[in-house]
């Protein structure tokens, strides 16, 4: 208990007393008392900011919200929304490291809209990926307050900012945001287009299938691979057929293998039994030159059988067992427990 006599514990108690005083005395009738409380509280907020006690700051903010009618509380709330305070809190995310991020996010969520523009400014310039992630998550936390400012910045020249804005806007969960995003469909940067594709797919927009097909038909490998991964959310017949077409492509080199494995997984996610004849073909594939790659592909194909309706794969698995492909059959059975019992 001796610790309560000095240092940080004393500051916390002092602050609690000020909050009680502010709450208990109608300061509109006694402005001097209110001003003194607000002055002391303002200083304490600076102190808590400097020592990284963001959770106590959030608690103070909460108390001020509760007594919003009290003029002195209004003064303190203004301080929380002031440029210096906001900047110091955002700086704190880099200064104090990950350990304090949950507290900082909680404080920012409590204060709200005043943080949106400064957070977006910082997001545009932050070189550290983990801090960018923190900034994005914090902006997402702020919800609707982000919509207008984020849309206003979609014309920014920095592709990385635009991509992150698309991600943030998607998190609002409102298909209405597709309207301002349409203008970006011709964005020169592939990463922005990919994020747009994800967003259009997320909201089940027909525009997404057109974009997917466009990307699946591209020669650029990275873009095609990304489109192949994203296609798992598509319900388009054309997209499905395009994936089968890509799977049928010849080649078994390392890059071909990676590509085909992604295609098998995407088809598995789609779970359409019409893909099974192509998958079955892969199970019987042989390639003397790339025998190890071929084996990996067959294993992936066997594993993917578990993603399809059980009755549609029963015959394929039976054939595997009968032909003595015990390893592949076991793999397929492991992925499809029901069928294992049936066989």
């Amino acid at each position: 208990m001796k610790k309560s006599l000095a240092g940080h514990p004393l500051e916390l108690q002092f602050c609690n007393v000020i909050l009680q005083v502010m709450q208990s005395i109608p300061t509109e009738e006694e402005p001097e008392a209110g001003a003194a409380s607000a002055r002391n509280l303002g200083d304490l907020c600076g102190y808590f900011l400097e020592v990284g006690d963001f959770s106590f700051l959030a608690a103070i903010h909460g108390r001020m919200q509760e007594m919003k009618g009290v003029p002195a509380a209004g003064d303190v709330l203004t301080l929380f929304e002031g440029a210096d305070f906001v900047r110091a809190v955002i700086d704190g995310s880099a200064l104090w490291g990950k350990g304090k991020h949950p507290e900082i996010r909680c404080l920012i969520r409590a204060v709200g809209p005043a943080f949106v523009e400064p957070l977006l400014d910082r997001l545009a310039e932050e070189p550290n990926i983990s801090l960018r992630r923190f900034l994005i998550e914090t902006l997402i936390d702020l919800g609707e307050a982000v919509r207008g400012p984020a849309i206003a910045r979609l014309t920014d020249e920095r592709w990385h900012l635009v991509r992150n804005l698309v991600l943030i806007l998607r998190s609002l969960g409102d298909p209405e945001i597709l309207r301002p995003l349409h203008g970006l469909l011709t964005h020169p940067h592939v990463r922005v287009r990919q994020e747009l594709l994800k967003t259009f797919l997320y909201f089940g927009s027909a525009e997404a299938d057109r974009l997917l097909l466009e990307d699946l038909c591209q020669q650029g490998r990275e873009r095609q691979l990304m489109a192949l991964q994203l296609a798992e959310r598509s319900r388009s017949r054309k997209v499905f057929e395009k994936i089968l077409e890509l799977l049928r492509r010849k080649g078994m080199s390392g890059s071909d293998l990676e590509f085909k494995i992604v295609a098998i997984r995407t088809l598995g996610h789609l779970g359409n039994p019409e893909a099974l004849p192509e998958i079955e073909k892969l199970l019987w594939t042989r390639n003397l030159l790339f025998s190890r790659n071929c084996e990996k592909l067959r294993m992936e194909a066997a594993r993917s059988l578990g993603c399809y309706p059980a009755e549609s794969t029963r015959e394929v698995i039976r054939k595997l067992v009968q032909s003595g492909q015990a390893g592949l059959a076991a793999l397929a059975c492991r992925e499809n427990q029901g069928e294992a019992t049936a066989l």
Partner: protein, 383 residues
Amino acid sequence: MNVPPAALPNLLHHLATASANAFLYAAGHPQVARHCAHALTEAEGLLADREEISLVLIGNQLIFEGRPLEQSPTLERFAQGLRARGIGHLKVRRGVTRQEVIGLVRTLSRHGGENSFSTDHVRLGKVEVRFSRGESETAARREISGLGDIHADERAKLMEIYEVSRRRSKLKVVGIFEIVSSFVDVVREIADPLLALGPLRSKDDDYTFTHSTNVCILTVAQAMTLGVEESLLQDIGVAALLHDIGKLFIPAEVLEKPGRLDDAEWEIMRRHPLLGARYLLENPGVPRIAVIAAYEHHMQFDFRGYPSVGGDWQQNLCSQMTAVSDVFDALRTKRPYRGAMEMGKIAGILSEGAGSQLNPVLSRHFLRLLDRLNSPGGSAASD
């Protein structure tokens, strides 16, 4: 008048913040390093046109180049930090290095232990400031056989402070520190805190004055015997002295009513902790612990007192010591509505209140002091 350079508050702010962070986290924390670097920059700026920065702490007042600095919450925190570590003087000389600033911050962040720090360019020290009571002071003090003989100067100063408060004017905080400092010295010099249990002789003064002085002395004595650091005794003394300051804002007809208070009057009376804390908040330089004790001293250990607070409230040790002294002194003093109680009866009440009204550890400690006082070899001061 020389205006202190703007860089000075910045320097003190960075030193205070660096030491707070060093205390809370570690001296190697990046935030400590950042504030140390800023402090060094500010110090170098100040030292560009002077050989040294010299600060003296008197009471709660920081003096720079012979002039008191304008008080602000940040400077108060810095001053409080110095006082809590028994530091009265800080000197930073031209040529100060980053390592020396870090060393200074480490020292300022330490609670207890050795607080002397001396390098080529940084000096910390204690300053013994005697509050001008003449050469005969020491001799006069030696003659004090108990605390019945509080100096007339203190009595007059204290009465003046109460008058100032009653008018809701600004408190002279340095004056309060002077008074408390002399009380602390007296309790320390009589070498037996038991003597503090003898009450201040009540003349025709009003009860609030006499009671506050008694509570101050009793609380300082408790803190001393509990092993609280010497450097904190002044703040504790100020807190105890001012604990009832809110009563000055209670109408006399309620405060001095000879009979029992009715519900409405009682409601008014119950506001004095709040009014006291609020008044102290309006006065820069008052130690934070005094605001807390003024607010909490009637809260009770089990929170059944007033004002009522949330379930997660943590009471301050100083408030709880003040509460013990407060109850003890109130019971032993003759009041308009009852006579003074016998020591045995007071001990019974304190014992009964331990764990409910009062902190049980502090109550038991106080009761042990009372036992010693009443034992054959005890050194009680006569009432």
